[in-house]
Symmetry: D3
Subunit: 249 residues, 6 copies
């Protein structure tokens, strides 16, 4: 079984980090493939970064489907383009936020999320709510570090994460904590060890979910809103990237 784990940003070291986590937990028969687009933002911190990443991510989904990939994981905690990816694929598509939330709802009655920048907090709150876990989620917290800084200063990142996880346990009465960024995946075991709190990494959660769905034969439903996109070209043929037509008054 080949699982495609896509990092929608363009930072290869982050893709490598995601790969390490995915391979560590994959079943023996699973082949983990990891990809990232070249042209997308170096990290995804907000709606616009998400939007700039999705078209190239969909190309990777499409390429994977042609190449016999059985299931797809979107390894960015905002789950950018999840609906679009499901339209594009016949195999199941798992977002790391949704998968982490599903694990959290299974192993704990209440959880909190810890992410990178405060600006992502409302985005993640909305995702968690749309996955039906708003009433289970005590808080979405932020360590106030950009995504790429997690790699640059791992010790600082871990110290800040420990602080927020302990606050989640003590102030929020969270029974588990979800890491709200794929770039935190490497710290997961360390954080559980240091805090005693069950820490849930979405990359791990999503890989296991994808393996299970594929092995059991589940596909994305093509009845209704996740049907393949209707084939269509731009109205006037493809123009060069970035060129803009305007029909101003």
């Amino acid at each position: 079984m080949r699982i495609n784990v896509i990092n929608p940003n363009s930072t290869p070291s982050m893709t490598a980090l995601i790969r390490r986590s995915a391979e560590r937990v994959a079943f023996p028969g699973t082949v983990i493939e990891t990809h990232n687009p070249l042209s997308t933002p170096a990290s995804i911190e907000g709606h616009a970064d998400e939007a700039m990443s999705v078209p190239a991510m969909l190309d990777l989904i499409r390429a994977g489907e042609r190449a016999g990939i059985a299931g797809h994981v979107i390894a960015c905690f905002d789950d950018p383009g999840l609906g679009a990816a499901r339209e594009t694929a016949r195999g199941p598509v798992v977002g790391i936020c949704q998968a982490a939330v599903q694990v959290a709802m299974t192993v704990a009655a209440r959880f909190s999320v810890v992410t990178t920048l405060p600006r992502s907090v409302p985005i993640i709150e909305d995702r968690v709510e749309s996955y039906g876990a708003g009433h289970r989620c005590r808080a979405v917290r932020a360590v106030d570090m950009p995504v790429l800084a997690l790699e640059e200063d791992g010790e600082d990142a871990i110290a800040r994460l420990v602080r927020q996880i302990e606050a989640a346990r003590d102030q929020d009465r969270a029974e588990a904590v979800i890491l709200g960024c794929a770039g935190m995946s490497d710290f997961c075991a360390t954080l559980t060890a240091r805090t005693g709190v069950p820490v849930i990494d979405g990359v791990i959660a999503a890989v296991k979910m994808a393996e299970g769905l594929v092995h059991a034969g589940f596909h994305t439903s093509k009845l209704g809103s996740y049907d393949f996109p209707r084939p269509k070209a731009p109205a006037h043929g493809a123009a060069g990237a970035g060129s803009i037509a305007s029909a101003t008054r």
Copy 2:
């Protein structure tokens, strides 16, 4: 990895049926064990049947934990005693309703459920809502057959299920349909084939979820509401089953 699939009712033929589904989809390394209590109702159709099944089911969970079971599946669509089982176990505990809902939310934007008796409809609606999928669930439908009748007259059961699944597709615009009773598990492939609708069986969903959780090292959180029950005896020693103390005026 040993997964304990517990049928909380006392009907061995239903346990055998559940076992067939579980084994069909288990990963090669997974050992599926199936159990049912002897003393519980022959089928679970309502709150009282649930309540009468849970204490003996918890005994099976406890026995499994002692015997080295890694994860537990509760194979009744009402997910009876799910919270109690999670308190009792260190391994993850997966209910077939919750697991089916999680699969449905991954492969479809809207789904319906088809269960046995109309009296179970509000119970299942409440479960689906508590798992955060109320807004994704178009309807809970009933074929109006008791649980054990599914086995007795399989052809009638399939005909009624096909009718409801087609109604879910055409009237509810459901993109997938969940089978709302463990006793329907055997029909799953047939129903997908006959209707073209992705049909989701909770036994299959839960086994895959449990395997993934165990393999990735997830446990039930013991911080907070799923902590082990505080040890306590009855206030006046154990009395014979069914005996009742009263302190009437």
Copy 3:
């Protein structure tokens, strides 16, 4: 009119305490009967304790119905087995949590709950939400004492309760406070007097609700999900308590 007030745990001193509260507020014509099972946990602190109490509690409901009891009160704040009890009875069945919430929604726009152990907080939150008062409930607080310690050290209990009630008033802006454990019933008047906050005891609330329902002629609806359980024996006859059948691979 005979009202059955059932303490689902097996501690007679707690049953006596509940009886005192119930009798203090009953109408002249009401006969309060109190019961507790002998075989259930000494206190109910979590899902598993609940589950272990319900079957014997249903026996008491059934016995009461045969004996001409007109209405039933379940005197544990988790409202364990409420649905099962309603299936079992023709008379109305009132849970002390639901009744307290209904009183709170009538006399105050916002309320908080104070319970015993932190582990019960999510359970009570979910109950309050299911009774439709999530948006009215400011917080569920815990004094961090086991249920039976309330009796053992009443002065400490009152001091802790006063602290939490004042916090509910000052920090949550609660307009009333619900006592989240039947074992706190005796303290109700004292707590109102000391804090000036309207304190609502579920035992009192439920007795009045039950009297009113019975006197007006309301019964539990037998159309649909609260219909009597379908009669059924275990599939293989009743086995001795605790014996377990397994059909292991």
Copy 4:
């Protein structure tokens, strides 16, 4: 104990009808008083009729409090001015919609409401939702008769009500039906008898709730939003009714 049952519209025959229902179910020690304002609309069918009824209704609450009334019932299914009445009274104030919903949530898992005119449907839906029963309410139906027509042609009213109650049972799978207008109170027993469906009348529900609250010593909380209105005169002294000041450009 004196309970004030206020009909906020100005139709004395409807007040008399409400009185009959209230007296039929009152406990022996309860004195039912009924009142209606003279100056309000003859029936309440919409937001504006509600608004025109509340000030005079508050006068009746205030007069009742001065006269030693212990509890108040607002006998219009829109529960007009419920918050304002609670600010005005120290005794508990019960609305017939809220009380009926509380009874329905106790004796049935799902219910429907049948009211008079279609224009009231969204108003009642919003009330039911605000009382936390949106997920329990299958539908709000209308017989499409004005309020006062209920009295004029009782046989037609009963026939239409039977039709809607049966539709609620068969199409909505309602387990109980609430009568969505105080003017239907007289038909309650007949409707239950003809349809076999438990029919809940808000006047009855509210009287029992009010009796219970008063007897147990509950008052409206004066901490927070139901505190007495701050005393204040119009900025420029009371003008004749209907006179209008304008400060047009």
Copy 5:
């Protein structure tokens, strides 16, 4: 285009203040008319004050409609009588709370509200929830000053508002703040300047919304619950204001 901005309380200086804000932002072609009733409370602080203001406010709506007013603004943050006003008018009726919430949901992902007295907090929470912004609203805060004190001591009011707005930004992570009282309208620009937080005034929001609706030709729908009130007199003719009929036992 003539827009009627109604201050439902009877304080002319507050009407003048509202007028200043409305005129400051009106389009050149808009004629702002402002009105207040003479007989209503001097300020609106709670449900009862609201109720006492609505009948005279509806008279002003009716008078406006006869005089050719195209759209109406209710300039009290509780949006008292909004449904009744919509029944009464053919032109669109905009409440300043609803309009402010709509602006906030357009320019910010999360917002807080700052109002006058703590007793208004639950009222505003309920309004915000009914407008569908409960999940976007971080908190409703109060400066703990009566409405009319805002005018009397503007510097104190501004200082308290600044404190709460900064708390909303720093503790709630609000991205914008809504002023929860029409009497704060004059401070809006100052508060934005002092705090750097986008501050939204409902009077401004509502005037712009009303202008847009009118100019585009929108009217209040007369299909259903906002249809004109059915014409009806009091059952026994109009009595003098305040006179009370009673049909006591």
Copy 6:
């Protein structure tokens, strides 16, 4: 005041149609500019079409901001990229779905939406829910025509729309109907005339909302989640459009 009305698909005839509607309702002083990208899908029917349209749409927003545009309208009913656009702009950004919902919530208590293809129904349901109008929206209906077919056979489109609008009025009891596609904008007046139902077009609603916001001086909040995207290049420099980097195992 210059308002940028962006059609995110690449079909110029649809841009022209949108322009006609926008100009018809604009205030005299408003300059309407309309734009569409050249490279996006010819119509937007699903998540993937949305995703393929957003990057070029953001370029148009950015270009508009540089050129002195004061406010932006996204003229596709899915409101694609609304959050990303708000991050990108200082001026307010109005989506036609959100604006239509806000108008509907002002002029009607309940509404339905009529869109093109059934596959868009869940997408629109989720948008409406996220704008807080789930409880006000009776149904999202589809005429089952692709977007571009609306132009090709206007008479058929109008006939199908009339049928669905009448069903919304009669079966859903909708008090107003929202047109769920920018391409229906031209039919708005005709549909109101033929059905007597208030029909709300999002293009019109959004233009009026944008004018009002701009004229009153509102901007998108830059505190928090709508702050400008943090500047960042792709990790490895920009590659040619469509080229894909992979770091496969």
